[in-house]
Every structure is written in structure tokens, then in C-alpha cells.
């Protein structure tokens, strides 16, 4: 099976890779590019642990083919902090202890970033529905919602 040559941008960097036509973007990120921050919790788009942003759209990278990244802008958890300066969402997740095991955290952070980009001042209900595509089994979501509320407040200034 011949590989597909893909030229794309990931976290602002130009990246080229060869992938199989049936290979998902998640497999490319994790197995070819070493970007293991996106996690596979289900492989069927139900848990959101593999969330990334492609051209300003929140997607499950397990439901996107690697070949579909051609010419696009991909944002992953590895690109969220600027050097050693954490994104406010990352900082507030730490301060609120919005993670226990942490496996869902990269997906939640990406989904929350996308949510706040579209709605900088969400209500609690809007946060809850905005993050309903991401599963967390440890926290009961309470501290995640509070962390997003707090981060939104900081980001609004």
C-alpha cells in the first residue's frame, strides 16, 4: 500500500509525513510524530481524549484521516503553552485540581480553548454542554467547570 505524502502545519511548525490512506490523524500524531499528548480512549469519537483543533474547528483526531491534514493548521496540546508560560486554562486546571488521573486533561484543555475562543463568557450551562463531548471518569466535572469559569474570567481580563 503506497503512502500518502502530507504537508501540513502543526502548532505553527511546518511538518511533512507519509501515512497510509486509512491511518487516522491520531495515529499519525502519536505513532509517526511522537505527539502523544492526544490520547486514544475509544477510537470512535465518543470520549474526546484525542481532541485537536483543525483550522479553528474542534475535532476528534481519531475520526480524521492523517491525509486530511494536508494544507491545514493543526493545534494540539503540545502547542498550548508558550515556552514555559502556561495557557490560563492550563494554569487554572492546576490551581483548581481539575484533573485526577489526567488522561482526559489534554482533550478537555483543547475543547475548553475552542469553547472560549467562540464564547469568551460562557454560562455554567454553556460550559457543561460545550464540554459534553469529553469524558472524565475521575472528577465528576465540578472542578473542571470551575477551572474553565476562572480561566475565562482571567482571559477576559
Amino acid at each position: 500500500m503506497a503512502g500518502v505524502a502530507v504537508s501540513t502545519t502543526i502548532n505553527g511548525d511546518h511538518v511533512e509525513y507519509l501515512c497510509q490512506p486509512d491511518e487516522t490523524l491520531l495515529e499519525v500524531l502519536r505513532d509517526r510524530l511522537g505527539l502523544t499528548g492526544a490520547k486514544e480512549g475509544c477510537g470512535t469519537g465518543d470520549c474526546g481524549a484525542c481532541s485537536v483543533i483543525v483550522d479553528n474547528r474542534l475535532v476528534c483526531s481519531c475520526l480524521v484521516l492523517g491525509a486530511e491534514a494536508e494544507g491545514r493548521q493543526v493545534e494540539t496540546i503540545e502547542g498550548m503553552a508558550h515556552g514555559d508560560r502556561l495557557h490560563p486554562l492550563q494554569q487554572k486546571f492546576l490551581e483548581h485540581a481539575a484533573l485526577q488521573c489526567g488522561i482526559c486533561t489534554p482533550g478537555f484543555l483543547i475543547a475548553a480553548k475552542d469553547l472560549l475562543a467562540k464564547n469568551p463568557d460562557p454560562t455554567e450551562e454553556e460550559i457543561r454542554f460545550g464540554l459534553a463531548g469529553n469524558l472524565c471518569r475521575c472528577t465528576g466535572y465540578d472542578k473542571i467547570v470551575r477551572a474553565v469559569q476562572d480561566a475565562a474570567s482571567v482571559m477576559r481580563g
Binding site: 502523544t36 490520547k39 492546576l94 464540554l131 472542578k143
Partner: protein
């Protein structure tokens, strides 16, 4: 009640604060490495072939075509994992569950495995393996399996625990009994008796991270296993025994763990990965799919429970009885026994009897799930208690307070309680503003209590003080939710230094002595006990070194607030020496400074919680929404209160999912029909309200800081609390968990038609 002055007047500096966890940055930046994030040079991809049948004899397996496929490096069957269990029945069951030997015992049971150069080749190879099955009749329902004449899962099972050994085999592996007093006398003294039967369906822990490992066996017999596990030492022991290795030649490193809740206390595919690596001569990475996690790791029991409780008019319970049937999967377990032990643990009872039956079914092997077996028993008991309170005419909280266990009460499972938190949690609930909040139409409020034993177990830590005065704490209990933070706080507290000066890590099995798993709510309880002990040993060395630096007797040196002080006026000219100053001189005063501790952490204090919830039922759809939820639980002493709250909230959320929605659904063909997160729906963010918490601190007298485990108890009350709330909202006693919309609608319809027939015949229920 906060801190009980009878037991301690200690004030804390670090313990009780809420710093950021040491593993936090890695987890918010994607750097933390979980089970599937580790890779080795030359690694192969492992995949497992699983039975599509619930029950079938494996007549033969032909692997020739798979082996001939280019890129396939190893194919294994049970023959590659020979039976080395030496008559150890429990270990044999583990082996048989890892890869079926004679029969496939459930849909998803592993029968063969391959290692290939990539996932595509491995998947192709699985399709080329030919298994000759003889399909047998199966049974997946706990009540059907319990009946005589049900398809037999294991013909060597003759029910244990009966007065006479039965003449015929059955699916009931064991009967156990707990209790004291005379229940017949007790029931004869009762003015009111309630008898009810309950059912709960099977649920999965639902950790977001599937099981994953990388196994590497070298030709010299040395091996490495990188794996997400709650217990690397137990995994090492089981894998080494099953593969015929010495434990010290297998180094197990626990990765960050993406949730376990009991499901990662058992080996599943790890021995298979090691056997593949041994055969292929290369490292093998084996990651389960979500489908495999549901079908072939360990969910909790499905249950069928009968309860009978009697009380006098004044509200005193006179007798209580429970019969509990718990499914174990196809292997022996002790799940009903634990249910029988916990069922009435919240109450002060003169006459009590609980009987448990372990029932084999053609479902995956039952594994621990957070306070295993307790939530189902609590659902049945607390539902009946609520109904009985109503019969007596007492408030549900007051009725429980009147009958609550106290210090000195003999528990229904045997021991006599020390200071315990059931009474205080009930009093806190009684006075909680949540109990007074108004309710609207179709809304209901429920409350319920829960108990968990907690566990201590074998534990050791190393505490090493660097020459710069920083402290490395190596622990052997896997951090499932912030314990590196809490144990660093404990080390800082005992040494009298800043939290930031301590760095805790989870050590691998070759770097530290044996530790039991992180289970039984033992992580912070037991490792903090060992940390305190290790810190005290280090302080002894620090005092000796200071004495040496001052050239005075060590007995004249005390340790206070992170400094050595020379006591007595004659030493007035000696300034205190900080830990950092003593550490800096360690190279010339006797070498590295460390404290070690190896102990059995006895005295895990029992744990109690009481929960309150408000729900609203949509009478047209039967859908239930949780409006408000409050957890009140005793922590002994909350080391990092934010993470204690997190445990309370997380357990409650899992219980809410269990109560309302989650269940394994099997078809008539014995196959699991909802092996994915779309159809096995755990609560999402929009399903839940904020979960309020109240931490009580009734110190555990057996721990130097009063700490109790907090991880599990919070999943025990929700099933009952929500069932009571739903029953109060719709006026029908709900007896089947989960209370999914169709079940609630059916209950409503049954109630409506019963009311109609009552009005026709003019009946009035007393």
C-alpha cells in the same frame, strides 16, 4: 465536628494546605506518559484474538496461515503459556482468563494472540487464525445461573460453605454468612417488617485509558514491563509466576495511570504481551481497544438481593436479614461475601444475618470497582431502611440516627468499632441547608449512607536527602489522583520543611521493596504512614550528624521546624542547623542521609459517608435529572483537601451513572451489545450539577496524623440516595438499578394501573 480533641491536639503546617501537585505541569502539557505513550526500539504490535461465543469448547486452533503472513513475528495460544500454577486455583483462573485453555467462557475471552511489525499486519493475522469451536449453552443472568438446571460453567464447582457438600456441581461457587444474635426472635419483636427484592446490573469502571503495556523479554531471561497498573508489584508477581520467571528478573514500571478504580488491579493482557515478546525475541506493545476493555477486562457484579428489616414503633430496628447473589464472571470470587459484610455495617443491630452466594456466569471475570460490592448492598439496604422509616412514621435521617453504629458497636461483619463517622455524617446532613431547600413538582429528595472498610497493607518508602537539602521521596503506591502531592505534604510536615523542597515519585519494582496495590483506599493512608516513619528515621540521622558537627552527644539534639537544635543552656552559643546545612556536610559526616520504612499499615480506619440528592423525573419520558448533590464524608484528616473533595465528587458521579444509566446489555446470543462509550454511556459534563462536599475529620486513632482512606466510600451511597429520591418523586419504590427511562416509565405505568384497580375494588393500603 472537625478534629476530635480526645485523640489529638496536633496542629499542622503543611498537611491541610492545597498546593499544586508535582506531576501537574506534565499532565496539562501532554508530556505525562501513560500506558500507551511508551515505545521501545524495534517494538512489535500485539493483538489478541477473542472468542465471539459466550461458552464454547475450543477443539483446536490452527495458526499456520497467520504465522506464514509476512510481518508476523509470533503467534501464541494457551500452549505458549503452559500451566505453571502448581495447584494454585486462583492463579490458574488468572492464567485461564489471560488466554483460554479448554473452553471460551465469555464473549471476548482471549484465545490467541499475535505480534507483527504493525497494527495492520497484526489485524490481518488475527483473521487468518482458525479456531474450531463447539458452542455450548450459556447463561449470563445471575438469577438464571443460580437456578438448578442452568448451563454449567465449570463442572468442578461444588458449592462451598454448605453444611454438606452437594452431590451435583452448580454455578454457585460459595455460600458465606455473617451476623450475630437471633433474627427470628428479632423479627418477632418487630411492629413493622419490610421485605423487598432488588436487582442491580453490571457496570464497568469506565476508566478513560484502555489497558496498555510494552513487554520486553531478553534472551538471557531478563524482562521489562512498562504498564498502566494500580499495582506494579502484584503485576510483577503474577506475570513472573505465569511465565516461570524469578520476580527479580522482571522489572515492572508503572506508567501514569489513566484511571483504574479497581479495574487495573488484575493482570489481563500483560502475561500475553510477555509471552509474545519471549517468542518473537522483540519488545511488544499491546494496547486494548475500548471494545476489548468492555468485553474482556473486569466489570463489577450484577446482583440480586433480598432484604428484610423489622422495627418497633419507637423506630428501633429489631432484626435485619440480607441474601445476596453476586455474579463473578466464569471464575470463583468473593464479591457476594464482601457485599454480605458491608450490607448492614452502618447500623447498630442486635440481630442480623447476611448470606452471600458467589454465582458463576458467562460474562467477563468480575473485578474490583471502587468499594467493590458495597454500593449494591447499600442500595438494597438503604432503600428498605427508607421505606421502613416511612412505615414507622419517622424522618429518614432521624430513623438512621437512632439506629446508627457508634464507637463500641459490634459491626454486623464482626469487629467492634472504634471512633467512627456515621453518626456525625448523619447529624451534618440533618443540619445541612440542602435538606431544607424547597422542591417542585416531579422533584424528589433522597439520602443514604455508605460504608467501606479501607485497607492498609504492605508498604515501603525511601526518603533520600540530597546534598542541596532537597528531599526525594520514592513510594511504591501508584498515584491515581494526587497522592504524590499528599505524600510530599506529609514528608514536609514531618521534616518541618517546605512542600516545594520535596519531590515524590512512584518507584519501579526493582528500586523499592514490595508494595501492595493502590486499592482499598490505601494509597495516602499507608504510604503516609510509611513516609512519616521514614522521615522520623531520617531525622534521627540528621540529629546525629548535627551532633557530630557540633561535637556534642546526639541525645542533646532535638529536631524542630526543619532544624537541629542543641538543647540546654550550655549550648546557647550554637545556632540551629537547618536540614540544608546538615545535608551540605553529609559527605564528610558519614555519607548520604536517608530514611527508609518498611511496614504493614495496620489500622485503616473504617469510613462512612452520607449523601443527599435532589432529582427531577420527566413523567412523559421517564428521564431523570440530578438537580443538586451533597456528599458528607469522614476523612480522618484531609491531607490535601482539594483532592479529598475530588475523590468525593468523582465517586458520587460514578454512582450517579450507575444509578441512572450504566449497564451491560447482553443479547440472547450471550454477546455484549453495548461495548463502547456511545452505548454504554457514562455521565458527561451536561448530565451533572456541581457536587457539593463537606469533609468531616474524625481522626483515625491508628494513624499518627489521624488519616483515613477517602477514595472509595463516596461511590457507596449514590445508588440508594438516588433511588430514594426517585421513589419520593414518583411515589413508587424503585428496585432495579439502573433506573433508566424505560424502567421508570414501566414503574409509573404499573403504579397507575395498580391505583386504578384499587379504586375499582375500593382497596386502601394501611
Amino acid at each position: 465536628m472537625n478534629f476530635d480533641p480526645r485523640l489529638t491536639n496536633r496542629s499542622f503546617t503543611s498537611v491541610g494546605t492545597r498546593p499544586i501537585r508535582p506531576d501537574g505541569i506534565d499532565k496539562v502539557t501532554g508530556r505525562a506518559r501513560y500506558g500507551a505513550d511508551f515505545n521501545m526500539a524495534g517494538q512489535l504490535v500485539g493483538r489478541v484474538l477473542r472468542s465471539p461465543h459466550a461458552h464454547a469448547v475450543i477443539r483446536g486452533i490452527d495458526t499456520a496461515k497467520a504465522e506464514a503472513l509476512p510481518g508476523v513475528k509470533a503467534v501464541i495460544t494457551a500452549a505458549d503459556l503452559p500451566d505453571l500454577t502448581n495447584g494454585d486455583g486462583a492463579l490458574y483462573d488468572i492464567l485461564d482468563n489471560c488466554i483460554a485453555r479448554k473452553k471460551a467462557l465469555y464473549d471476548g475471552h482471549a484465545v490467541a494472540a499475535v505480534a507483527a511489525i504493525d497494527a495492520r499486519t497484526a489485524r490481518q493475522a488475527l483473521k487468518l487464525i482458525e479456531v474450531d469451536y463447539e458452542v455450548l449453552p450459556h447463561v449470563t443472568d445471575v438469577d438464571e445461573a443460580f437456578q438448578h438446571g442452568a448451563p454449567l460453567i465449570n463442572e468442578a464447582i461444588f458449592t462451598e460453605g454448605l453444611e454438606e457438600k452437594p452431590v451435583k456441581p452448580s454455578n454457585v461457587h460459595k455460600r458465606t454468612q455473617y451476623g450475630h444474635g437471633d433474627i427470628h426472635k428479632g423479627f418477632s419483636e418487630a411492629d413493622f417488617v419490610i421485605e423487598r427484592s432488588f436487582r442491580t446490573e453490571q457496570t464497568h469502571q469506565g476508566y478513560i485509558e484502555p489497558h496498555a503495556c510494552v513487554a520486553s523479554v531478553s534472551s538471557d531471561g531478563m524482562a521489562e514491563l512498562w504498564v498502566c497498573t494500580q499495582g506494579p508489584f502484584v503485576y510483577r508477581q503474577h506475570c513472573a509466576q505465569l511465565l516461570g520467571m524469578e520476580a527479580s528478573k522482571l522489572r515492572v514500571t508503572s506508567s501514569e495511570i489513566g484511571g483504574g478504580f479497581g479495574g487495573k488491579t488484575h493482570v489481563w493482557a500483560e502475561p500475553v504481551a510477555l509471552a509474545l515478546s519471549r517468542k518473537a525475541g522483540r519488545p511488544v506493545k499491546l494496547v486494548m481497544t475500548r471494545d476489548e476493555v468492555f468485553r474482556a477486562s473486569g466489570p463489577t457484579s450484577a446482583t440480586s438481593i433480598d432484604i428484610k428489616i423489622g422495627a418497633r414503633k419507637d423506630g428501633t430496628i429489631t432484626a435485619a436479614e440480607a441474601t445476596l447473589r453476586y455474579s463473578c464472571g466464569p471464575y470463583a470470587g468473593m464479591w457476594a461475601e464482601v457485599g454480605a459484610m458491608t450490607a448492614f455495617a452502618c447500623y447498630r443491630l442486635d440481630n442480623v444475618r447476611t448470606v452471600g452466594f458467589e454465582v458463576l456466569v458467562n460474562r467477563p471475570k468480575t473485578a474490583a470497582y471502587r468499594a467493590p460490592s458495597a454500593p449494591m448492598a447499600a442500595f438494597a439496604v438503604e432503600s428498605t431502611i427508607d421505606e421502613l422509616a416511612g412505615k414507622v412514621g419517622m424522618d429518614a435521617v432521624d430513623f438512621r440516627i437512632k439506629n446508627a453504629a457508634q464507637e463500641g458497636t459490634r459491626a454486623s461483619y464482626g469487629p467492634v468499632y472504634g471512633p467512627i463517622g456515621i453518626g456525625p455524617t448523619l447529624e451534618a446532613v440533618k443540619n445541612h441547608p440542602h435538606m431544607q431547600a424547597p422542591l417542585k413538582k416531579n422533584q424528589g429528595r433522597g439520602m443514604a449512607c455508605g460504608f467501606w472498610f479501607n485497607f492498609g497493607g504492605q508498604t515501603c518508602v525511601d526518603l533520600n536527602i540530597g546534598m542541596d537539602g532537597s528531599v526525594s521521596l520514592a513510594v511504591g503506591t501508584v498515584d491515581v489522583g494526587g497522592s504524590r502531592a499528599s505524600l510530599s505534604l506529609v514528608a514536609a510536615e514531618e521534616l518541618g520543611i517546605d512542600y516545594a523542597q520535596v519531590k515524590a515519585i512512584v518507584a519501579d519494582t526493582s528500586s523499592l521493596g514490595y508494595n501492595d496495590m493502590t486499592d482499598g483506599s490505601r494509597g495516602t493512608f499507608s504510604s503516609s504512614m510509611a513516609t512519616i516513619s521514614a522521615a522520623r528515621n531520617a531525622i534521627k540521622v540528621l540529629r546525629e550528624r548535627a551532633a557530630q558537627m557540633w561535637d556534642i552527644p546526639a541525645d542533646d539534639v532535638v529536631w524542630e521546624k526543619g532544624h537541629a537544635l542543641a538543647k540546654g543552656e550550655k549550648y546557647g552559643n550554637l545556632s540551629p542547623l537547618s536540614l540544608k546545612e546538615i545535608a551540605a556536610q553529609s559527605g564528610t559526616t558519614g555519607g548520604p542521609i536517608a530514611g527508609h520504612s518498611e511496614l504493614v499499615a495496620d489500622g485503616a480506619g473504617v469510613s462512612f459517608a452520607t449523601h443527599i440528592c435532589d432529582i427531577e423525573v420527566d413523567p412523559e419520558t421517564g428521564a431523570t435529572r440530578v438537580l443538586r448533590y451533597t456528599v458528607v464524608q469522614d476523612a480522618g484528616k484531609a491531607v490535601h483537601p482539594t483532592y479529598v473533595e475530588g475523590q468525593y465528587q468523582g465517586g458520587a458521579a460514578q454512582g450517579i451513572g450507575w444509578a441512572l444509566n450504566e449497564e451491560y446489555i447482553y443479547g440472547k446470543d450471550g454477546r455484549l451489545q453495548n461495548a463502547g462509550f456511545l452505548d454504554y454511556r457514562i455521565p458527561v459534563c451536561s448530565d451533572l450539577p456541581m457536587i457539593d462536599t463537606q469533609i468531616l475529620e474524625i481522626p483515625n486513632p491508628n494513624h499518627p496524623y489521624g488519616i483515613r482512606g477517602v477514595g472509595e466510600t463516596s461511590i457507596v451511597p449514590p445508588l440508594a440516595a438516588i433511588a430514594n429520591a426517585v421513589s419520593n418523586a414518583v411515589g413508587v419504590r424503585m428496585t432495579h438499578i439502573p433506573m433508566s427511562p424505560p424502567r421508570i416509565l414501566a414503574a409509573l405505568e404499573a403504579s397507575t394501573s395498580a391505583q386504578k384497580s384499587e379504586s375499582i375494588f375500593g382497596k386502601h393500603d394501611a
